[in-house]
Symmetry: D2
Subunit: 91 residues, 4 copies
């Protein structure tokens, strides 16, 4: 079981805003909008997904690495998972 | 007027697949899925939006920089817009 | 033969500044500098190398895609190489 | 005082390899090497600096967030600094 349930209403809201931003990209494509404008909208989506990924990593840090009630074994495991995630996704 | 109309059915399909990938992120959040799994799904969204941005830039190159029927003034303007887009969005 | 010779003094200067920035990272490591400070210096190196990559791509656009004296075959080849470079390096 | 001293010989070696990779970029520029080749070398530098940044963040996690001998106040502070670093540098 993950740690995301507590904080996840805010994250779900972010994902839904992202869907709205993608629909703006779709409208720009369908209406033959200028490519600079379309690119700008697509770049905004990337900014938002990067923000979401940062948030997911921050939640992991709090729940699985720094929380006071973890055993040292759980903390070490959480730190390893975090470092693996940073190597894979922090780009 | 942008150049996107010709090629835009394929791009619109990509955007719709992206919406589907975001819905998978939302389901993972709502069901309290493991955070490593959720991160993995969110990173896939970022990969897909990066691919879409590359495609938008490639379309711009073909329509506004290398197309045979452009005047040199149009070509220079397209190249300037492209270089500005790369500086802004190629990250 | 590449197109870089014309413009390359400025680029060589950028590379040398980057070497200087890396030496600052090395000094921070050797002197046991605070990790936030060291990270900040390393992130500045990444910003500078991203800027250099953007510059190399911009030079390619001007020399091999939009230059007025290219044949259409050369221009198409330059555009293909550019699009491949964006897909590979624009990240 | 940072945590970097313990592990820093390996990191210093990475920085020196990076200097060598930059010198290869400089040689490519000076000798008028093909731009695709030069771009490839510059992209390798970026890959290496991204790896170094990941390593610095991993060191921070181990020294300031998950280490067994931290007080909870130190751990919370280390987690906050980490999350700030991810938001700023994980790109």
């Amino acid at each position: 079981m993950g740690h995301l349930t507590e904080n996840n209403e805010a994250l779900v809201m972010r994902v839904r805003r992202l869907v709205g931003q993608l629909q703006a990209v779709e409208r720009a494509l369908v209406s033959g909008e200028d490519c600079a404008k379309t690119l700008h909208l697509a770049a905004a989506v990337r900014g938002a997904i990067n923000g979401l990924i940062d948030e997911l990593i921050a939640d992991h840090v709090k729940a699985h690495v720094s929380a006071p009630d973890l055993t040292q074994a759980e903390r070490d495991e959480g730190a390893e998972a975090l470092i693996a995630a940073i190597r894979r996704y922090a780009k």
